[in-house]
Subunit: 291 residues, 2 copies
Amino acid sequence: MNTSASAPKHVLGIDWGTSNRRAYLIDPSGECRARHTDDQGMLAARPHFAQSIDHLLAAMTLPLDTPVIASGMVGSAQGWHEVPYLDISVPLHELPGRLLRAAPNRFIVPGYCQRGAEVDVMRGEETQLLGALALGRDDGWVVLPGTHSKWVLLRAGAIQQIRTYMTGELFATLGAHGTLAPLLGGPEDADAFTAGIDAARLRAPLSNALFRVRARVVSGAMPAAHARSFLSGLLIGTEFVAAQDMSSSVASICSPALQQHYAVAAAQFGITLESLDPDRVYCAALARFFD
Amino acid sequence: MNTSASAPKHVLGIDWGTSNRRAYLIDPSGECRARHTDDQGMLAARPHFAQSIDHLLAAMTLPLDTPVIASGMVGSAQGWHEVPYLDISVPLHELPGRLLRAAPNRFIVPGYCQRGAEVDVMRGEETQLLGALALGRDDGWVVLPGTHSKWVLLRAGAIQQIRTYMTGELFATLGAHGTLAPLLGGPEDADAFTAGIDAARLRAPLSNALFRVRARVVSGAMPAAHARSFLSGLLIGTEFVAAQDMSSSVASICSPALQQHYAVAAAQFGITLESLDPDRVYCAALARFFD
């Protein structure tokens, strides 16, 4: 991206998800100068993405010609412009040369696709990974927990493997619908969470393990109040059971609340979890786009 | 159960589930003389179970003093009377001596509980299993597909193992809620179904495999119209992947539609599937209660 017609400008990065978006203003030295979060995610902003960006700039009292780099679902088929996925053979450092120009001074970062039997995709996380790279993390496993929790194996700054788990989505969906839902109103319970992680070690198929959450309660083996944390531990533990065969060290990029859960799970598996601040990572990525 | 104050009477068996119930009238020789199905499942009938049975008898033009044996969710905590689970160490042939008398001439069959780390439960299927026993199937794996698909290992007429999979419930819930739902409107497709079964062989955690259904579609590796059958194959295949380590022969008890899906999956795994007619099985069980 060439943003320097005359003097270098600030750049606004938007992490534009399905329901929410987060914006970061980077100055020419790469420092983050302002942040803004709102609920104008892809669903709320479409089909007026250009206008929505102008409103965002106005809300942040920024000039309308501020260059904007957006990542995430904004680049999906339901977004502003569908940006074709890059193949994971393309190293992350090539991302700045692969932006799609959606309008003057408006750019969208492409996501990645892993093809073959273990097909997987990401949109948005590639920008976080570029930031992790910029902070010196270019090798080993990185986990980006969330609605669709992503485990990504990096080798010399390239994506070797993507494994996405519908952890957050299953937790929310099963909490709202179906036979488990009435059981999932309990408070957080640390012991139930670790019991759920232990249950994941049995490696039973989740369609079986999920029923057994209910079976524990109706058989009296577990109080209903523990079901929610147990399920959380089961779903997060499932990610680590797969990970433990692969690595003794993982970097995480997520909110402090999720970080706490993943740290407990990592400790239970003897895995070292290094936490990277998501804002810092994002801004480090933005600085890489800035030239 | 002693139903013979004077002459032997007919007996009405009710397979009383959460949403529906099926009733079978058995004559003193053990022959099924009438059937009745309605939507007066546990949720609709409570709290007036006794009255609901009288209405059912009236609808079938049967005397109100006809002995009734009910199995299924009617015996749960949300049902008529909570009947404590039997431990799986109790052989199935002891079921007739373990009925709970809820009212004069009204009996409920207890379910079974498998305790320990792999806790599991059943209510209703134990009656089908007693019927399978009566038809000579007292050894090996029996699968009872459905909302909560049950795989049960029998040894000399006793339950050795219960494994319940939330196959039907996950299929329905994911079809109605969440990011997969918009993809799951397609027609049945035989090739997509077998592709889903093949995907199950990868033994990836379901929280991962479910996301990859979406990844296949958004990456262009699979048309959206195939997602529904692929998911069905993935969920049913997951049951068979676990089963293939254990047995080369399984008996199934289910509707013809489900039977067809399970037969395709079994063939793909080289497992012989022997289909038992659910009505015949249920009536054979009722005859065992009749003395």
